[in-house]
């Protein structure tokens, strides 16, 4: 297989993983709804136990996303993680807190008290998600690094990545992802929990969070389509700034544009199903829509001669799927392993269906020794 094709394949895989990760942010979004949506301890238990059966999947998707980036595009891993040190540190802390919070929150003898663990869950769902969105926006807006002739990186801003948080463009994506997570979280509750009053509140929450989501998302999309992008010459590798690059990318890749538009429609349809049609299937439409939109944004920034991690400090240090990838052999080896992905998706779907045949009712968890 041609090397460029393998690089593109792995960019598509990473784009899919990014989409799935954002879909799984329904867990994080749901966590931020815990304190406002639940009235009373019983509903709180329902929410925590509903999310508690899925959080590992989101956590694992994050780990795989990181691992796949490391393996397929190690120069990005080295440059961004080592450079934007404090942003990744903050993201890491927010996610580390999540795992223990479900398990320890209600256990007898828990050292910190349930409220602290609930605060951890909120922190994970809010700051963690906003920071990830902000960090991802730098794939479009760039970062202050340079590479030497041995591809070893230097960062040229003392804030070590925190500078990304001072850009409205970057933060708008972070906040949009945060509200998208909350929409998906509410849609998940509608689908998964058998508690009419709580579900009714979740339907209202879908609408409210959609209203909050739209301005940030629209601002990000319009700003993206209007801004200059980082193009590279596919023969010489030379990186240049190009007007309307990301708009051009959509037009040059109609399938990607179709994915983006279909994704937006799916998300809006999910909002309609959740908030107006009294359906419980909104999470699926919202999930598919989120995957499509995120995937299309990643494909936009990585393909069609675009630098997916540009350096505004030194244009020629910008990372592309060509100059930052692993060797042909490694990509090929991982491609063969990736054939197992449908098997993985298959057993995830089967177990999800087996576990979620019936909606979660309080009777199921009130006397359970396994409940969170």
């Amino acid at each position: 297989m041609e090397h460029l094709l393998l690089q593109q394949y792995w960019w598509v895989i990473l784009s899919l993983l990014a989409g799935l990760l954002v879909f799984m942010f329904f867990v994080q979004g749901g966590q931020t709804l815990l304190l406002t949506l639940a009235k009373g301890e019983e509903e709180k238990q329902l929410i925590v136990n509903s999310l508690g059966r899925k959080w590992e999947l989101g956590f694992t998707t994050l780990v795989l996303f990181g691992g796949a980036f490391f393996a397929a595009f190690p120069l990005f891993y080295a440059t961004s993680f080592g450079g934007a040190y404090f942003v990744w540190m903050a993201i890491l802390l927010c996610f580390v807190l999540q795992a223990v919070s479900y398990e320890f929150r209600k256990k007898p003898g828990n050292l910190l008290g349930a409220k602290v663990y609930e605060a951890f869950l909120f922190l994970n769902g809010s700051v963690g998600v906003i920071l990830i969105g902000t960090a991802v926006a730098t794939l479009f807006s760039g970062a202050a690094f340079s590479l030497n002739e041995y591809n070893l990186s230097q960062w040229h801003n003392d804030l070590r990545g925190l500078e990304a948080a001072f850009s409205l463009f970057n933060v708008s994506l972070g906040v949009a992802v945060f509200f998208l997570g909350r929409m998906l979280g509410a849609l998940y509750f509608i689908n998964h929990i058998d508690a009419p009053a709580l579900v009714e509140r979740a339907r209202r929450s879908v609408l409210i969070n959609t209203v909050c989501f739209l301005p940030f998302f629209l601002y990000f999309v319009v700003a993206l389509l209007m801004r200059d992008g980082y193009a590279y010459d596919q023969v010489t590798g030379l990186v240049t700034l190009e007007s309307f690059k990301y708009l051009d990318n959509f037009l040059a890749m109609p399938i990607v544009l179709a994915m983006f538009l279909a994704g937006v429609i799916c998300v809006l349809y999910a909002v309609y199903l959740g908030a107006f049609a009294k359906s419980s299937a909104g999470i699926w439409s919202g999930g598919v829509g989120s995957v499509l939109v995120v995937m299309s944004l990643f494909l936009n920034v990585g393909l069609n001669g675009t630098a997916f991690y540009p350096s505004y400090h030194d244009l020629q240090s910008s990372l592309t799927i060509v100059n930052s990838s692993s060797s042909h052999y490694t990509l090929m080896a991982m491609t063969i392993v990736s054939i197992t992905v449908p098997v993985v998706l298959g057993y995830i779907i089967l177990t999800w269906r087996a576990m979620d045949k019936n909606k979660l009712h309080h009777d199921e968890i009130k006397d359970s020794k396994e409940a969170y």
Binding site: E56, M89, L92, V96, S326, T340
Partner: protein, 512 residues
């Protein structure tokens, strides 16, 4: 350099990674072993239909979950730290090292995460057989995860199946199967999961012994301790076997580590293993001092362990640092020259390529290729830099081995007393069993200290010294993250321990 402490950023990064890895390895062994013990117990339940075994299974499963979540949290920290603190490493070896991490995610983590939910919440949702399948999948998934990590670690200790590419200035994979089936990686996997099984067995033994001492839940405790002691005896004997094989492979591939493990400065034939010894402090390579104040040796054992030949020559630290022509050992000084030559040729190659000088670039490329196996030596300052901290390596090795032998005896004695139906009649023995878990942890940590401290100064043996692998960042930033992590680890440890102790106090009949 941090002015307050005198530590450079690389020292803070090393300290941070060491603390994270050691903290992570408090939880990993229990995950690896307890998952199988729980699966055995549930298998007995499904085969016999005895509800009591279901309660036994559920109790240990609960403790497994408390341990599991802290393990995966700290695993994420390690994944991030590769990029954050070791960005040069991430680039130089990412082509080889990244793949096992990604494969671990695809084939192992999802298996664990997906079936974890079924294992815990699926008791009344899926059929008995399906539930048992899920429990086994969690056990297999967690051990598969260890396989890929240890394959990656094994490659760092003995980098096979890869080469140095001057065009990209990094190590690249050449043969996936050679890396996967590297003897170093395989033996590390077997030895490490073996240690996990032993630690988990000791955990069950310790908790069960406590119940027996308290004269409560005795049926539960006897059933649990029987499963754990049987599993523990088999796996601790297995551990001794893999330990011996580890020693053999280390002798072939990392002779300096073996020399440090034995405090052996001057190589010898018919070398003995130091069964017990006290090292003299401040011994330096080449200073001619006797390294021991006191030593009791098992004659011939080191030559036999390292080379399966009692007359074999085992090189010492001085041989490896200064060379030993009679035994055909090249000293570090000469290797440093070859490493420096590789680095100079690499720079010249880059210049030639830039200038479009084909002949020149081909010449320099060949020079790089010839000397690349020693390229890391070119970044060392003096030959003595290849010597790891001898005292830590030497004592850690002895602690690990002695405790390993003690565990075999302990498990054997438990099974003997259970067979005689008398275990609860020997409270002093049960009190000894209470020490099993802490000693198990000490042995497991000591094992990792031998493996990781003993391979210093290398991040990747011969190719990448630790000090060139670190991120270019001020010591202050690493120091900040170090203390944040230490704080988190202390809080997590206290929180996890308290929750676990509370569950143990409540016992198998109650709790949440």
């Amino acid at each position: 350099m941090d002015l307050a402490t005198g530590l450079a950023h690389v020292d803070w990064s090393r300290l941070q990674f060491a603390v994270t890895a050691m903290f992570h390895f408090i939880f990993v062994p229990l995950t690896l072993g307890l998952a199988f013990i729980v699966a055995f117990m549930e298998t007995i339940y499904v085969r016999t239909g005895d509800e009591y075994w279901k309660r036994v299974t559920k109790f240990w499963m609960k403790l497994f979950a408390i341990n599991f979540v802290v393990g995966i949290s700290t695993g994420l920290i390690m994944e991030f730290q590769f990029g954050m603190n070791w960005s040069n490493y991430s680039w130089v070896v990412g082509d080889v090292f990244g793949a096992p991490l990604a494969i671990e995610g695809i084939v192992a983590f999802f298996l664990e995460a997906t079936f974890f939910a079924v294992m815990f919440f699926g008791w009344d949702k899926v059929r008995k057989g399906t539930h048992l399948f899920a429990t086994w999948m969690v056990a297999i998934g967690s051990n598969l995860s260890a396989l890929w990590i240890l394959i990656a670690n094994g490659w760092m200790q003995y980098p096979v199946g890869s080469h140095y590419n001057p065009d990209t200035a990094r190590l690249e994979m050449l043969n996936f199967w050679e890396i996967l089936f590297s003897p170093m990686g395989i033996i590390k996997f077997l030895h490490t999961v073996g240690s996990g099984y032993v630690v988990a067995s000791l955990f069950v033994v310790t908790v069960s012994a406590w119940y027996l001492l308290k004269k409560r839940d005795t049926v539960f405790a006897k059933r649990s301790i029987a499963v754990a002691a049987a599993f523990g005896l088999i796996t601790s004997i297995f551990l001794a076997g893999t330990g011996d094989q580890s020693g053999y492979i280390i002798a072939q591939k990392q002779p300096m580590k073996l020399a440090a493990m034995e405090g052996l400065y001057d190589g010898e034939r018919q070398a003995g293993v130091v069964a017990m010894g006290i090292l003299r402090p401040n011994v330096k390579p080449g200073d001619g001092q006797d390294p021991f104040w006191l030593e009791i040796k098992i004659p011939y054992a080191l030559s036999f362990m390292g080379y399966r030949d009692v007359n074999a020559f085992v090189p010492g630290i001085n041989d490896l640092v200064y060379g030993n022509a009679a035994e055909g050992i090249i000293g570090a000084g000469e290797l440093m020259e070859r490493g420096a030559l590789a680095q100079i040729a690499l720079a010249a190659y880059k210049e030639s390529v830039k200038a479009g000088d084909r002949a020149g670039s081909e010449f320099h490329r060949m020079t790089v290729a010839e000397n690349a196996p020693y390229i890391g030596y070119g970044s060392l300052e003096k030959p003595e830099d290849i010597v790891p901290p001898v005292g830590i390596t030497f004592y850690s090795f002895r602690i690990m081995v002695m405790l390993g032998m003690f565990f075999i005896a302990l498990f054997g004695a438990i099974l003997f007393l259970l067979h005689r139906g008398q275990i609860e009649k020997y409270p002093p023995f049960l009190r000894l069993c209470l020490l099993g878990l802490p000693l198990g942890y000490i042995a497991a940590q000591a094992g990792w200290v031998v493996a990781e401290v003993g391979r210093q100064p290398w991040a990747v043996q011969d190719l990448l010294p630790v000090h060139t692998a670190a991120t270019s960042i001020g010591a202050g930033a690493i120091q900040i993250s170090f203390w944040i992590f230490v704080f988190i680890f202390v809080v997590f440890f206290m929180a996890g321990l308290k929750v676990m102790l509370e569950q143990i106090k409540i016992g198998p009949e109650g709790g949440k």
